[in-house]
Symmetry: C2
Subunit: 303 residues, 2 copies
Amino acid sequence: MTNALSGVFAPVITPFKTDLSPDLSLFAKHAGWLMGQGAGLAIFGTNSEANSLSLGEKILLMDKLLEHGLDPARMLPGTGACALPDTVALTRHAVDSGCAGVLMLPPFFYKNVSDDGLFAYYAEVIERVASPDLRLYLYHIPAFSGVPIRLPLIERLIRHYPEIVVGIKDSSGDWDNLETMLKAFPGFTIFPASESLLSRALPLGAAGCISATANIQPAAIGRLLASWKAPQAGAMQAQVDAVRQVFQQYPMIAALKFATAHYADNQTWDMVRPPLTSLVAQQKSQLLAELDAIGFAMAGLRD
Amino acid sequence: MTNALSGVFAPVITPFKTDLSPDLSLFAKHAGWLMGQGAGLAIFGTNSEANSLSLGEKILLMDKLLEHGLDPARMLPGTGACALPDTVALTRHAVDSGCAGVLMLPPFFYKNVSDDGLFAYYAEVIERVASPDLRLYLYHIPAFSGVPIRLPLIERLIRHYPEIVVGIKDSSGDWDNLETMLKAFPGFTIFPASESLLSRALPLGAAGCISATANIQPAAIGRLLASWKAPQAGAMQAQVDAVRQVFQQYPMIAALKFATAHYADNQTWDMVRPPLTSLVAQQKSQLLAELDAIGFAMAGLRD
């Protein structure tokens, strides 16, 4: 049994107070809004600024969602860190909390590491967490991690841990890589990192998407996922693509947070942790103008 | 006052027991040997597998050195992590422990970050640590971090924090970058990352070196540093270069650890944390043969 996940997942953006500490209540409220829009919660993703958060902060944030009554069966937290003990601790906490799975970055400081070394790392995490409930989704994002997850490694992990290593998020942006994986591993749960690939990837068996802009247009992506075989799918794809294309012109995390701040009328969202920076005024007005021009707005975010 | 550091510093290799936990006692003993050979202790460097250690493990390891009676005035721990709270916590612990300085990686997950973002990060760390005793050495190692520390950022940090931001380690391996920095910042404490650059860098004002192979030949590097103007300096440079060149043919950390295991007759050293892997048997015999061929051995490591 694998209880494979599917659908649209948002790498939930993380709000910070002016002292840069995470705003736990706003995080839980926003996660609730995302779930209400049909999105699963890929908390602690790249777009969550997860790697700017300490282990202790991540545990507090996860616990806050559970305390808020959100269903861990729709949670896929990012738990991969550079240091094995950190990855084990957060993965174990996610499993103990009932999370449906974890999305695990490879250790990303050392470069040109061998597949033997990466296999040993994942094996060590799996053996230490030591739970039949662990569902591990690999995370291929070479532009940030510098450590690609190549097909022979995936094949080896599936062979050794068929009940545990059940899927992958492909953030390479490389269609050939995604298509090759979809064809090579038909039982594997594969998420592209952009809704713009859905019309091409779903016929090949993609499970949905885990996308930055799922923070912004979760319901529209959900409708496309529900209707991708219908006649109107082309128009729905074009609609979500238009929104995605606007955001892709800006530093993504800052743009997601500014847009959320704007539509929620809550400036807390317009804060990022260094080394990231917020959009400058000219970018903000331009982003809003571009969103207006395509008739986009987020609703239901205000108190 | 800056109390600038100088000389040879070893990014001290970190021993692991068979369960992959750090061997605190062996670490302290080895650090004592390095100090006895004249090396300062750049613990938690790249070659220390620092990014495979949790914050808690690093604090335990640092405390063990102090408990062992080693002088923090010759310690330059690496304290830079991706997450601001982790960097602040370890930096504050180092300052409170009396360490002469800290060597700080930039936050290294997010790429293409702006100098404004990096400046804000360092400024935030400095303001939070809030100690006049902090001496911060930047760490430029783009091949691993993916986040270069460029000259305009250095200039800006020196201008804002002249008593705090006092130096840099340049691990770019790019002579032009090193030479440019040495000429641009004459009062700055600049360490190249290899003893092989000493004869060229010392006349331009380099402070010494922080080098992987300072784990292996600390005394020989120290002699070169003491005699670089003497007639025999060329021969001394050639000698340390020969050793460095042997190690550079292998995965560096695994090679440093295997050589230390061999000369110390202690197999605990021949263990790395995943995602790194130990040398394979053929590499081990070849490395020893090459070291024998140049008459190299480490002495004084056995019980």
